[in-house]
């Protein structure tokens, strides 16, 4: 069904090389609004993983019946219908979880990352691969949003894991900076999210550039060093 290399490639792309937040820069609207702390970022990402896995699976399974000309409306129809069904089922049967995750699901229906993966991957690949693509794209989003949320919260309010008590009622946020820390409002507001996301993109590019440099230098060809900078 799926080879090891294929799986590795899908996982690597989702988590790092094609990361939805820092490489494709897709789906920023809920991302910037919601990630005022790490817990929100993780919850939003979990909901996205679920939605992307289901919509990729459905579109991939139906891909041979969808005429090319009307694929976008059909994709939107499939994604919106399935997400709404998931939302209803969650609300009815897993109400406790719904209270935590449910507020994020409507944010995702219109998220362009879902449509982007459906169009770019699920429409051209078999169901299993497409489902994995959805999951790993979501996991890539998960670590980026958790990091972004944690940074915003630490800079903005000096705490970490704020809002954890919404998920686990007996856990409390940890105050990392002293109580007297004057909250830095900018980090909590959307402009702060843009600035920090920019820093994360720069960091990711720097990591990649360094890795590329190393792999270029590693082969035993010391003469080549003179030409690089």
């Amino acid at each position: 069904m799926i080879s090891r290399d294929e799986f590795k490639s899908i996982a690597g792309k989702g988590i790092w090389t094609q990361n939805s937040s820092v490489v494709q820069i897709l789906g920023l609207c809920p991302l910037l609004a919601v990630t005022t702390n790490a817990v929100n970022g993780v919850m939003l990402s979990l909901a996205t993983i679920l939605v992307m896995a289901i919509s990729n699976l459905a579109v991939s399974a139906l891909r041979n019946f969808i005429p090319h000309e009307i694929r976008i409306p059909v994709f939107i129809l499939i994604v919106a219908a399935l997400v709404t069904v998931v939302d209803l089922l969650f609300n009815a049967n897993l109400h406790e979880l719904y209270l935590v995750l449910g507020i994020f699901i409507p944010l995702i229906v219109t998220n362009c990352i879902v449509l982007a993966r459906v169009e770019a991957f699920a429409a051209k690949n078999p169901p299993l691969q497409s489902t994995f693509d959805g999951i790993f794209m979501g996991l890539g989003m998960l670590w980026t949003l958790a990091l972004l949320g944690a940074m915003r919260e630490l800079i903005g309010a000096g705490t970490i894991f704020g809002g954890i008590d919404m998920v686990f009622p007996n856990l409390h946020p940890i105050q990392l900076l002293p109580e007297s820390y004057p909250n830095f409002l900018l980090a909590m507001l959307p402009p702060g999210a843009f600035i920090l996301l920019g820093c994360m993109i720069a960091w990711k590019n720097w990591m990649d550039a360094r890795a590329a440099e190393r792999s270029r230098l590693k082969p035993p060809a010391p003469v080549a060093m003179a030409g690089t900078h």
Partner: protein, 221 residues
């Protein structure tokens, strides 16, 4: 799709439309089925949630009627900042009026409206206030929500409990900064001021209309 070239332009348009139609029918049916199947469970939990919120402002042991069935449809009430119709719940004990539970809106929050639910007892005392919805600055003005308040022992919003117009004058029903007796956290005064004002107005409104509110017919038809 490889077979598409065999169709004429009209034929292809019809075929595409038919396929789209089939998709729409199928997914609409799926949605309707899911909606109908989940409806009873969702309604039950919505009722439970409503009761949970009401329980926070009015202890269930205080009254003995079926509160959710003893309602009054309020029209848009400018005195309460309500621009839309809402529902008022009436608690009774042994048939006697005990408290009114209703929504009110503070229109002048730091960033928009703050929706509150509160219970006012028949003797004019505030039984409790909770915030339902607000857009106050996270980490600054959001302590009006019990969950976000760092003071877990005595959250800010609970200080309205037992306040009544008979005991607290117009002048005192204000945040300390404005010369009143209501505490607030430094750095965010606009939010508590808006909430205090809204609770005050609601208490006044309930006092002025108490008799009529308790006695008018169910669902005010």
């Amino acid at each position: 799709m490889s077979a598409a070239h065999e169709y004429s332009a009209t034929g292809m348009a019809v075929r595409t439309a038919a396929i789209l139609f089939v998709f729409v029918i199928f997914f609409t049916a799926l949605l309707s089925a899911a909606y109908l199947w989940t409806k009873p469970a969702i309604e039950a939990s919505a009722t439970a949630e409503k009761m949970k919120l009401i329980d926070e402002v009015l202890p269930r042991r205080d009254y003995d009627n079926s509160l959710l069935d003893d309602t009054l449809d309020l029209p848009a009430t400018p005195e309460l900042g309500l621009s839309e119709a809402s529902t008022l719940y009436r608690a009774r004990l042994a048939g006697q009026p005990l408290a009114l539970v209703f929504e009110t809106v503070a229109p002048d929050g730091y960033s928009g409206k703050i929706r509150l639910v509160l219970a006012i007892r028949a003797d004019g005392q505030v039984s409790g206030v909770r915030v339902i919805q607000h857009k106050e600055t996270p980490g600054l003005g959001d302590y009006i929500e019990v969950k976000k308040d760092k003071n877990k022992a005595r959250p800010w919003i609970t200080q309205f409990r037992s306040m009544s117009l008979a005991e607290v004058t117009d002048k005192d029903w204000k945040v300390k900064k404005d010369g009143g007796r209501i505490d607030y956290y430094a750095g965010a005064t606009v939010t508590p001021r808006a909430v205090s004002k809204a609770v005050f107005k609601a208490a006044k409104w309930a006092e002025a209309n108490r008799y009529q509110l308790f006695s008018s017919g169910r669902a005010a038809k």
